[in-house]
């Protein structure tokens, strides 16, 4: 019993760590992006300030589903983050960090947010949710094919298991071992993070920030927290799956930073697709590459 409570406490620690890490990373990357755009940019801790300001403000609510959805969203994401390994040894629930948990439990958070947004009664929010779900349909399929290839190769769907398989030398880092798959995964990760050109569901100029349009105050603050943790989960997944995980926290931070910063830089010089272009894009080359990669790796056994 005590052990379980310890684990849960540990898990909450991971979630908090993820929040702090990503919020700081977000701030730093705002700075980097600003330099790219000939601006000075805000302080690196600006995101913390924003969130705490929002949390402290008095907000408005559109009814119980509006609040309930926010709680469900944040709760789902915190729950997901608690399973996330940081390094191969720092993991709250050892052996239970099944990849599918991340894919599906994260969906609870998404669903909660979608529900809350639709519950606000603003049509733009519903359109945003529609776009978010459609984008999800687009990027998940190629990504899952690549990850399934990895699971088939390593024989485990545990994240630490996959990371350890790369560290012990059974496989190269999968970004090298499965080059095509890696490219696909990068694109999918951009979709997951809502980076341009797949930022369609935010699209301020079209649907006024989509799902977020009605929020303010603590609800928005909580959604910010949720958003930061979501990004933490997704980038960490990527690190563990393709970059060989991490032996130490320092390595994890470095890899995390590199992945996030590179994506951020790439994203900043691209425009935004329309929603159907997102779908056709992902179902054209990335899916094709993913399938080719899977065929090569599984049926022919050619893994570098």
């Amino acid at each position: 019993m005590i052990e379980i409570l310890m684990n849960i406490g540990f898990g909450l620690g991971v979630a908090t760590f993820g929040f702090v890490l990503q919020t700081a990373m977000g701030g730093i990357n705002r700075k980097i992006a600003a330099r790219l755009q000939k601006r000075r940019g805000p302080k690196w801790y600006q995101e913390f300030i924003d969130i705490f300001k929002l949390l402290s403000k008095r907000a408005t609510s559109h009814g119980w589903i509006f609040d309930f959805g926010v709680i469900m969203a944040l709760g789902g994401i915190i729950g997901t983050a608690m399973f996330m390994p940081i390094t191969s040894s720092i993991v709250a629930f050892e052996g239970y960090d099944n990849f599918f948990i991340f894919v599906y439990l994260i969906a609870v958070g998404m669903l909660g947010m979608a529900m809350s947004a639709s519950g606000s009664g603003n049509p733009l929010a519903s359109i945003g949710v529609m776009r978010a779900l459609t984008t999800m349909l687009a990027y998940e399929v190629p990504f899952m094919v690549v990850v399934m290839t990895i699971i088939k190769l390593t024989g485990t769907s545990s994240l630490t298991g996959i990371a350890v398989a790369q560290q012990t030398g059974d496989f190269n880092w999968f970004m090298i071992a499965l080059p095509l798959g890696f490219i696909v995964a990068v694109m999918s990760l951009m979709g997951m993070l809502g980076k341009k050109p797949f930022e369609t569901y935010i699209a301020p100029a079209e649907i006024a920030s989509g799902p977020m349009v009605e929020y303010g105050g603590k609800q928005l603050g909580m959604l910010f927290i949720m958003h930061e943790i979501t990004i933490f989960i997704e980038v960490s997944l990527f690190v563990h799956l393709f970059l060989g995980g991490a032996e130490t926290i320092i390595m994890f931070l470095i890899k995390y930073f590199i992945v996030y910063a590179v994506l951020n830089l790439v994203s900043n010089v691209l425009g935004r697709f329309k929603i159907d272009q997102v779908v056709t894009f992902f179902f054209k080359w990335p899916l094709f590459f993913a399938v080719v990669q899977a065929m090569i790796a599984i049926h022919l056994g050619w893994v570098i």
Binding site: L36, Q37, K38, R39, P123, L124, I127, K196, P197, E199, T200, A203, P204, A205, E206, I207, A208, S209, N268, V269, L270, G271, R272, F273, K274, I275, Q277
Partner: protein, 368 residues
């Protein structure tokens, strides 16, 4: 089938300017839409009647916020014609420099504005940075950044400051050197091309139907119709420039023409700087107190080429200190008011902001 109503503006990030487009949507296709002006209605035309000819100088730039100098030019030209004032040659050259700088500024802003609806904010910030450099130059010349009130009847307010040519040349060289970079970031960017190519069409028939002028017309009908060519004002007949045209007017083509006009303007400014003689820049408008300046009875229509097309002032004087009537032909009036009602339906909500943007709708012109 039930319709959904969406609002584009006035607080919407996709709408620049204080107007609102109401869109009735089925799925994501706009089935009905109309412009709701009035958010900015300050009665410019009526206001001009209540101010003296000179006081109006402070009011007219506000008719188009982003591109104020054309208002000043049109007003000045009209007043000069009514009063029969001959403007010194140097003033003409300076006016052309100002107008072309303003043209670069607004085109850069429009080009950067492409970044906003398509999400490429780097493009937007870069373009705004360049516009900012132009505003710096304006500040040096006139002391103001946006509303300069620099072109006045009778010439320009004062001569160029010393050494400004160097700054202008430096800026133009810098801009020219980054021209390909701009293209790569914007209209050559594959992600943006997907958004703007072969979409938001402006067919020739619509041009004639609505009376679209300027970039919209030149992009669609393959005619070099440019006021600077066909009815040269200032000394545009003494400089050489090419008018970019096309007969396939999608969003990308129109933006492309704007970008080409930036190059064109750079050329014009260089020629102006080279050909500009020394001399006076202003003749006095009238003897005595300027507030009591009266214009002879009569009416005149003065027209200039703005970034969006033919921009004109129709001025009627009854011989008093105040104008009797001033009418403004806003260049984006046809596509802004009629086009939104008639041709925005059928496009998708994704494209609505881009439509308004690339058609060159400037809401204060409509809402004057």
């Amino acid at each position: 089938m039930r319709e959904l109503k969406l609002f584009l503006g006035p607080q919407h990030p996709g709408m620049h300017g204080n107007a609102s487009v109401h869109m009735f949507v089925e799925g994501d296709i706009i089935v009905r839409s109309y412009l709701l002006p009035g958010m900015l209605h300050r009665g410019f035309e009526k206001g001009m009647e209540r101010h003296s000819w000179v006081n109006n100088l402070a009011l007219i730039p506000r008719v188009c916020v982003v591109e104020p100098d054309i208002n000043e030019m049109a007003y000045a030209m009209g007043a000069e014609k009514l009063a029969g004032i001959e403007v010194p040659e140097r003033a003409h050259w300076i006016r052309m420099i100002i107008l072309e700088l303003a043209r670069i500024s607004i085109h850069m802003m429009a080009y950067g504005g492409l970044g906003s609806p398509t999400g490429n904010y780097t493009l937007m910030y870069h373009a705004h940075a360049d516009r900012n450099s132009i505003l710096d130059i304006f500040e040096q010349i006139s002391g103001h950044r946006i509303y300069h009130q620099y072109i006045v009847p009778g010439g320009v307010r004062k001569d160029l400051p010393v050494g400004i040519e160097k700054d202008i040349h430096a800026f133009l060289d810098d801009l020219e050197s980054r021209y390909t970079e701009y293209r790569d970031l914007g209209i050559e960017n594959p992600t943006l091309v997907k958004r703007i190519k072969d979409t938001i069409m402006l067919p020739e028939s619509v041009v004639w139907e609505l009376g679209v002028t300027g970039v919209g017309m030149r992009s669609a009908v393959n005619k070099e119709y440019d006021i600077r060519k066909v009815m040269p004002y200032a000394l545009y007949d003494q400089v050489e420039f090419e008018v970019p045209v096309s007969d396939y007017s999608d969003a990308r083509c129109r933006v492309d023409i704007k970008l080409k006009e930036v190059v064109q303007s750079i050329g014009i400014i260089r020629q102006c700087l080279a050909k500009m003689p020394e001399g006076p820049v202003r003749v006095p408008m009238a003897q005595g107190q300027s507030m009591r300046w009266t214009l002879p009875k009569g009416h005149v229509y003065s027209v200039v080429e703005s970034s969006r097309g033919e921009f004109g002032y129709y001025m009627v004087s009854n011989g008093g200190t105040h104008p009797y009537r001033i009418g403004v032909r806003g260049a984006s009036y046809p596509q802004g008011l009629l086009g939104i009602e008639k041709y925005l339906p059928g496009t998708r909500i994704d494209d609505a902001a881009l439509w308004v943007d690339t058609m060159g709708v400037c809401s204060p012109e409509i809402d004057r």
